[in-house]
């Protein structure tokens, strides 16, 4: 994906992660800005299903040829599903960061946490600053 985009239906964490919250479940990934800064992703190893992730703490690593980056959890919860397709095709994170490039799904442990995240307008504004 060559054009920056920040879908309105998602919530954003300042460390360039997004969350799609659906009831008690959330899908997590990295933003267009994060994948662009990283460059072509060559390796992603998801956490194991069943592990806990904590808001603001790293839960996985994503690697480009040139660098390793921690992936920060925008919300807390337990991992219920991981995107196994990324093991073979990690560059999907670049091509479709909000769709096929999702990283994990979690069952949220604190339903109030999403209120602390930014909407697309606030996140875009933070990038411009």
């Amino acid at each position: 994906m060559t054009e920056a985009s920040y879908p309105e239906e998602l919530l954003y964490h300042p460390e360039h992660d997004w969350a799609r919250v659906e009831g008690e479940q959330a899908t997590l990934g990295i933003t267009w800005y994060a994948q662009d800064a990283l460059g072509e992703v060559v390796f992603f190893e998801p956490p194991a299903v069943g592990t806990s992730v904590s808001k603001d703490a790293p839960y996985a690593e994503v690697e480009s040829v040139k660098a390793v980056s921690d992936v920060i959890a925008p919300l807390s919860g337990e991992v219920t599903e991981v995107n196994a397709a990324l093991a073979q095709n990690p560059q999907v994170i670049n091509e479709d960061p909000y769709g096929e490039g999702w990283l994990v799904k979690v069952r949220l442990s604190d339903p109030s946490e999403p209120q602390a995240l930014m909407d697309a307008v606030a996140y875009s504004a933070s990038l411009a600053g």
Binding site: G39, E40, E61, E63, V65, K66
Partner: protein, 375 residues
């Protein structure tokens, strides 16, 4: 992100070309250099299969000249400088000089830099330095030049832009704009390329055929444009690093440092202790006793990418590591105890807390596939 310190970064003569091409930039040794353009993997593959062009104008040049130029360099450089040939061609009297790789050592054998030296004339040599070590190298050259009053040392970093044109099509692309046949591999000679005076060197850092071109900075943009127009793909520092690592060329600051000597690094072949270079006694002692550690090439067995600084279980550390675009696995260079520095030895590397299995491999890690057999 802002550059470290208030100091403005140096820009090469080709900076605007890189910006127009949509390059992503990084700070490297005080220079604002292109990391990649279309993408590191595409650039890497272009060099392996066709042709890429790199702006390496951040590299420095030191010219050593005068009747004692050879003697000074023989004292400084680990290789046998007296063996670098120079011959004057029958046509027009344009000379062709040899190219030689060497390391620059301290008295204790620690490596100050690794360098290519080109012989420009019977008593004139040009040594190409790494960007991060240029100033220190120059001080070292000058400090020792006082022992050789008939040798002059000049800083030429501002006088040259440098392009590396690399890949199986590279020589053909450059030949097409040259006034006469290009110098062969490991030699260097002046040529007119697209109207500019260029020192053409049959060297590179990718394991492919190709040339490195040294020209005046003001001539660089037109030369770059002509080479790109003829099909060379602009390639950045990320591809430069993955290409050199696949063929196990050393990167100064990672695989070569003051803390380790050339024998440990596997560079004994370019150390000729009989020449009496600075550090020769220390290098000889390590060669005779055998080094405690050696630099090995490895490939990760399974997923994962080792990075510089990752410890090797049982002793040693990774000094370079990346994902190999051609091999599709994590590769790298690591110093390991000599007993483990044997092809086929299994290693465990601590990659940020995760143990990754790796295997010691022959160098180079990547070799060109044989030409397709006729059907």
């Amino acid at each position: 992100m802002s550059p470290p310190g208030a100091r403005a970064l140096n820009r090469t003569a080709l900076f605007e070309r890189h910006r127009e091409a949509g390059a992503r930039f990084t700070e490297f040794a005080g220079w604002e250099m292109p990391l990649s353009y279309a993408g590191p993997r595409e650039e890497h593959v272009a060099v392996r299969q066709a042709c890429g062009v790199f702006d390496v104008s951040h590299m420095g040049q030191i010219e050593t000249s005068g009747p004692q130029a050879g003697a000074l360099l023989q004292r400084l450089l680990s290789n046998d400088v007296a063996a670098i040939p120079f011959s004057v061609g029958a046509d027009a009297g344009i000379g062709t000089g040899g190219a030689q790789y060497s390391v620059l050592c301290r008295e204790d054998g620690g490596v100050l830099d690794d360098l290519f030296t080109y012989r420009l004339d019977s008593d004139r040599y040009l040594t190409v330095t790494n960007a991060a070590t240029h100033a220190r190298d120059l001080d070292w050259f000058r400090a020792h030049a006082s022992e050789f009053p008939e040798a002059q040392v000049s800083d030429r970093i501002s006088d040259y832009a440098m392009l590396a044109v690399q890949g199986p099509l590279a020589r053909g692309i450059v030949q097409a704009i040259s006034d006469s046949p290009l110098p062969r591999r490991m030699t260097a000679a002046s040529r007119r390329l697209a109207g500019a005076d260029v020192l053409v060197c049959g060297t590179g850092y990718t394991g492919e055929e190709g040339v490195e071109l040294l020209c005046r900075p003001e001539d660089a943009p037109a030369l770059w444009d002509e080479i790109v127009r003829r099909g060379a793909v602009p390639a950045g520092l990320v591809a430069r690093d993955t290409l050199r690592l696949e063929v196990c060329f050393h990167l100064y600051g990672n695989d070569l440092t003051l803390e380790r000597g050339p024998i440990e690094a596997g560079l004994g072949w370019c150390c000729k202790e009989h020449t009496g270079f600075i550090g020769a006694p220390a290098v000889r002692a390590v060669r005779e006793a055998g080094p405690a550690e050696k630099l090995v090439a490895f490939a990760i067995d399974g997923p994962g990418i080792a990075r510089p600084g990752n410890p090797v279980v049982g002793g040693g550390e990774v000094t370079s590591g990346t994902l190999s675009p051609c091999l599709g696995v994590g590769i790298g260079l690591a110093y390991v105890p000599s007993a483990a520095a044997v092809t086929g030895t299994r290693l465990e590397i601590d990659v940020r807390g995760k143990m990754r299995a790796a295997v010691v491999k022959d160098k180079p890690l990547y070799t060109k596939p044989p030409e397709d057999a006729p059907a």
